[in-house]
Amino acid sequence: MTEQLLKVEGLKKYFPIKSGIFGRVSNHVKAVDDISFSVKEGETLGIVGESGCGKSTTGRMLMRLLEPTEGKVTFDGQELTSLSNNEMRKARRDIQMVFQDPYASLNPRHTIEKILMEPLNVHNIGDPKERKQKVHEFLEIVGLSSYHAKRYPHQFSGGQRQRIGIARALMTNPKLIIADEPVSALDVSIQAQVLNLMQDLQKELKLTYIFIAHDLGVVRHISDRVGVMYLGNMAEMADTEDLYEKPLHPYTQALLTAVPVPDPAFEREEVEIQGDVPSPANPPSGCRFHTRCPFKMDICETTIPIFAEVEKGHSVACHLYEESRPQ
């Protein structure tokens, strides 16, 4: 059995909403509200969900780029949530992030070489000569050339900049990469190049990925397991095949049937949901999906459904499956 590399328990992030002239906290945005999951070594866990459901907030908390309001994150046997800032900085050598907009995260005044060198300087890896060599090596690995090292970010296309973002994340030989919408800003032809690259690198370097995206096609392609978030909660999590072939949560079902399929002959079974996502500052009582759920029952308005396994490796938070759960 493969080992768990990352374990997340009861993770929460409440952002205070301040109001009035004294800036008193009047309410909270419950961006992430009590989610738990784990990631096995070498796998790719996809996280999907619509805008504002808390995907990025979750990703950032795992690295403690954002401090969790509550909850425990254990990585490679070490409890990250109890580390001092200094210890956490060291731990980040093993966990790196790739962002949606590499341009915004690449300093426009620095050469690519300088940008890629930085994580090595921060973590004190190698001497200057080795560092330089490593930069060139990783440029080649991500499909660029050493002569690109002297150039500046604006001289690259979107796809190339994303390759640089990936190269930077790889510089410290991390175990886990959290990729937050790494291909969302790219055109499909370039998206395919970057997805293939990430898959190749995973095999070669034995990486574990948490892949955050809103594109369900992309997530199916790259993930071994997938978690579906809705309004700060984890609605469902399962092996990719199970989730796409046999979605249990009504929200997952609706989400899957809403995706336009590139095949005019395709006839969909519609699970249409009405209305918009409610505000995370005032989430609905009980099940957060009850305001849009076509299967809503009375209990859904009053009682929060527990996120638990209903079949092997398939967890869901929905009252419809209460009975099928092992007690």
């Binding site: 619509e50 369900l216 096609g217 392609h221 809403a258 995706v259 918009d276």
Partner: protein, 339 residues
């Protein structure tokens, strides 16, 4: 099926931007037409000229630096490129309407939704009473499926969600019963569940009101689901055109085929995605030859020496690729090599 009349025809359209870096032919010799009541899709990757094409039709190309440098846009026996701005404004208000990707930028944050809708009605129905105008605005809001229409009339744009704002924009565009609705990435900024609602709305309105729709998108899924006919653009040119079934079942241009192969499909797992090597060329950087040649696995000598024309491959299907020149067809194997 009865052949429907062409309602809008774009012929040899060239729109150029005169920038410090030189002339950028963003749209280069583009031909297509929309028939009455049909949904035509224009699909292509970022920067291929989709928005500039639609702005050209609307007479809204930012000028300077942009200018229609060649071609005709025929609508009801008039060439829109030759109309004075005053005339064009009438057409924009009455016959051809447009909705944009980001509805927030086209709604005024200072005025209520009701205010803006009623103003729009007033422009077209100068002799209507206040009551008539109000009722028409509410009626349009209901038509596009906005809940509690009367209440929303009093609210400001920021109080609405993205999907609701896009519905308001559609309502506003449809107020004057346009013959053609141009929708430029109308759902790109929206979540999939909301996107599904808006696409369904556009399809229903097309059926009920018989409005012709020009739907511009980079999403092949949206095209497959919504359009009857498709124009594929690459680097400022139309590279393929045909009925939606033909484009998806028998894609001909190597770019179209590469594009279809590279999209991950939500319904099944592809072992590995096909990936088109390289990047989209900067507009204007390839002067002679096929613009796809640097990325095309089938490219041969002729592709860099001559510019391919659109070849009529079936009655309704056209492809800009030398492989479809009857003289070349025998010589080449057109199977895509999947890496």
């Amino acid at each position: 099926m009865l052949e429907r009349e062409k309602i809008l025809e774009v012929k040899g359209l060239q729109t150029t931007f005169f920038t410090d870096d030189g002339e950028v032919p963003a749209v280069d010799n583009v031909d297509f037409h929309i028939r009455e009541g049909e949904v035509l899709g224009i699909v292509g990757e970022s920067g291929c000229g989709k928005s500039v094409t639609s702005l050209s039709i609307m007479g809204l190309v930012p000028s300077p630096p942009g200018k229609i440098t060649n071609g005709e846009i025929l609508f009801e026996d008039q060439d829109l490129t030759k109309l004075p701005e005053k005339k064009m404004r009438e057409i924009r208000g009455n016959d051809i309407a447009m909705i944009f990707q980001e509805p927030m930028t086209s709604l005024n944050p200072l005025f209520t939704i009701g205010n803006q809708l009623q103003e729009a009605v007033k422009i077209h129905k100068k002799d209507w009473s206040k009551k008539q105008i109000y009722n028409r605005a509410v009626e349009m809001m209901k038509l596009v499926g906005l809940p509690r229409a009367e209440g929303l009339m009093k609210e400001h744009p920021h109080q609405l969600s993205g999907g609701m704002r896009q519905r308001v924009m559609i309502a506003m565009a449809l107020l004057c019963d346009p013959k053609v609705l141009i929708a430029d990435e109308p759902t790109t900024a929206l979540d999939v569940t909301i996107q599904a609602q808006i696409l369904k709305l556009i399809k229903n309105l097309n059926k009920e009101l018989n409005t012709a729709v020009l739907l511009i998108t980079h999403d092949l899924g949206v095209v497959a689901e919504t359009c009857e006919r498709v124009v594929v653009m690459y680097a400022g040119k139309v590279v393929e055109e045909g009925p939606v079934d033909a484009i998806f079942k028998d894609p001909q241009h190597p770019y179209t085929r590469g594009l279809l192969e590279s999209v991950p499909d939500m319904r099944f797992k592809k072992e590995r995605l096909y990936s088109i090597p390289g990047n989209v060329p900067k507009p204007g950087s390839i002067k002679t030859g096929c613009r796809f040649a640097p990325r095309c696995e089938f490219a041969f000598d002729r592709c860099v020496e001559e510019t391919p024309p659109l070849y009529q491959t079936t009655e309704e299907h056209q492809t800009r690729c030398f492989l479809f020149d009857p003289k070349e067809a025998e010589k080449h194997d057109r199977t895509i090599v999947k890496s």
